[in-house]
């Protein structure tokens, strides 16, 4: 930081857990942590979020798993990962030894599976928070994704909350592909979520006009990157307006400090960086610096003062988002 820029207090809170700063990696976008640590010290971030950990090892989806879209990326990795045992044996200890704040993302096909995962994490050292990836198909509801159903989401969250230590916040990660994201958010909070993370990838399809077939082997995939940022900002805005006391991790298309600032002004108290890491291994630390500079340049002394500020124009009440632009 240059001498003429006053330091900004970047601390933030995920419920009662203090993070040194609001920038985290996004689930599934930062590998095991080891890969990025070739480029910078992961401990400089507010937290590292793991890929979504499942009970059994998962081989994921066939390739092609990715295709580029305008200002975006469509992916269908399919939660490839080592399973909880290998995660606890090899990945978490590596992070814990380095005192890297770690948000563990979990995913399952049933309430029982999520709960079992949370139980396995309960006595593992080094778990800063649990993020419940609700974008998983519920095998007990014909594969309907939990995140699309407030009640199912709430059930998962409540169960995970009940087996998790009181000092480990449970973060519910929501999808934008719903009719009413506020209703799902409210259900999760009522179910015991200490914080919310949004957005997971909206579902997209690309067709390869040369092969005349879908570009991804899985046909559909999750859209990420700058293309989805307006959707992420909208979800954060709506949920913060409805539930102003709930901490929100803003995720979606953050490539620069300005983008992170946008989510913060909309109501996020932390920001996760996903696709940007693919383009720029140093993205997360760069974004942190840019965000700090942007805050300082506008006279903010504390990040906390900027959270949700766009809702409160000087001299007027909070504005409510209408459902349509009509």
């Amino acid at each position: 930081m240059s001498l003429d820029v006053p330091a900004v207090d970047m601390r933030t809170y995920l419920a009662h857990v203090e993070l040194a700063n609001p920038v985290t990696t996004a689930a599934g976008c930062a590998g095991t942590g080891r890969e990025l640590s070739q480029f910078f010290d992961l401990g400089r971030l507010g937290a590292h979020t793991t890929r979504t950990i499942t009970m059994a090892p998962r081989a994921g989806r066939p390739t092609p798993r990715m295709t580029e879209t305008p200002s975006g990326l469509l992916n269908a990795v399919g939660l490839q990962g080592p399973g909880i045992e290998a995660f606890l044996g090899r990945e978490l200890p590596w992070l814990a030894q380095r005192s890297i704040r770690t948000v563990v993302s979990i995913g399952g096909g049933s309430v029982a599976e999520y709960t079992a995962l949370a139980r396995r994490l309960a006595d593992a050292p080094g778990v800063t928070a649990i993020e419940v990836n609700l974008a998983c198909p519920n095998i007990e509801d014909r594969g309907r994704v939990f995140a699309r159903d407030g009640a199912a989401s709430a059930e998962v969250v409540a169960s995970v909350r009940s087996v998790t230590r009181y000092d480990v916040p449970v973060v519910a990660k929501l999808s934008p592909d719903v009719t009413d994201v506020v209703a799902v958010a409210r259900a999760c909070v009522d179910g015991g979520a200490d914080a919310l993370s949004m957005i997971n990838n909206p579902l997209g399809v690309c067709i390869d006009v040369d092969t005349l077939r879908p570009a991804l082997a899985a046909v559909s995939g999750g859209l990420s990157g700058p293309a989805v940022r307006p959707l992420a900002v909208r979800c954060v805005w709506q949920v913060h307006a409805a539930l102003p006391g709930v901490p929100i991790v803003g995720v979606g298309g953050v490539m620069t400090g300005r983008d992170a600032f946008e989510l913060i002004l909309a109501g996020a108290c932390a920001v996760a960086v996903g696709t940007a890491l693919f383009h720029d291994p140093l993205a997360a630390v760069r974004i942190l610096k840019e965000l700090e500079d942007a805050l300082a340049a506008r006279g903010f002394q504390r990040l906390a003062d900027a959270v949700g500020l766009a809702h409160r124009p000087p001299g007027s009440g909070s504005r409510h988002l209408e459902e349509s632009s009509l």
Binding site: G31, A59, L73, L277, L282
Partner: protein, 290 residues
């Protein structure tokens, strides 16, 4: 590996057309000094305001000590990113990350090596040839492509290798056919101890089959669509058999791009083999049961 990868802004020193390809030499000392044969780099494309969010992976063709260290790569225009790269001119800057991936393992002893390249895949073989020759290995080349203007590096191969055999599918240069057609003859003639290969997947599969026939090791450098190149996105996977006999979906970028050919399940690329670790329905030996 040759030390941890760097992100650098390199200046383009020269650009030139080489048959169907565009060769770019970029000043990138941090990358050049860490480079080992088989490494690749990833390049940001499109410039400010671009809609392209992913980097492009490119093999390093050459590393030179000029200007503190330069890397050269050879680009075939495929889509918008490579088209943009082909338009770069001297003095433009490029954002590079590298060196990436696991390089080719080098033999301890002076053995006979056949280096097989398909299309621009040959590019990665010349630094390898130098390294092998420094270890007193014999190097012979087999290079192929669809047509003459897509065979990369024939002249240099002729200069460097003991022998060079060329193939084109249309017969416009060398023998008509594919590299795997001529490879058994070359392997026999030169008493090859090991094959190194880089090129399209179909070629690597055929080359591997030749190696298996002759019972000699094949090191292949694979190409898979990559979103990150640094091992975090899990999009570039292919089924590879581990030392323990278990098939895993491993990352071409971080676990490869160089693999032992016979370990790669070429027939199953683009699928999740039923017996892979974590396959749906419970593949692999390590399936977890609650």
């Amino acid at each position: 590996m040759g030390g941890s990868p760097q992100q650098v802004t390199g200046t383009v020193l020269t650009t030139r057309r080489v048959d169907a390809y565009h060769a770019l030499t970029v000043v990138a000392p941090g990358i050049a000094e860490r480079f080992r044969p088989g490494h690749f780099v990833s390049v940001s494309v499109g410039g400010p305001g671009t809609s392209m969010v992913t980097r492009r992976a490119l093999a390093v063709h050459d590393v030179k000590p000029d200007y503190g260290g330069t890397v050269e790569f050879v680009v075939a225009v495929r889509g918008p990113g490579t088209a943009w790269l082909a338009d770069r001119r001297a003095r433009d800057t490029l954002d590079l990350v590298g060196p990436l991936g696991r390089p080719f393992p080098l033999p301890r002893d002076p053995v006979n090596c056949v280096l097989v390249g398909g299309e621009y895949g040959s590019a990665t073989l010349f630094a390898l040839a130098d390294a092998l020759q420094r270890r007193h290995c014999r190097v012979d080349f087999v290079l192929g492509a669809a047509a003459a203007d897509r065979v990369f590096g024939a002249l240099r191969a002729r200069r460097v290798g003991e022998t060079t055999t060329l193939t084109t599918e249309d017969g416009s240069l060398g023998l008509r056919g594919r590299v795997a057609d001529v490879l058994p003859g070359v392997v026999t003639d030169v008493h090859a101890d090991v094959i190194y290969a880089c090129g399209p997947m179909a070629m690597l599969r055929e080359v591997t089959a030749v190696g298996i026939d002759f019972d000699i090791p094949v090191q292949v450098a694979v190409e898979e669509a990559m979103a990150c190149g640094i091992g975090v996105c899990m999009t570039c996977v292919l089924p590879v058999i581990g030392d323990d006999g278990v098939t895993r979906m491993v990352r071409a970028c971080a676990d490869g791009p160089v693999f032992r050919g016979e370990r790669v399940r070429f027939e199953d690329v683009g699928t999740i083999p039923f017996d892979a670790l974590g396959a749906p329905g419970g593949g692999g030996s390590a399936r977890h049961v609650t």
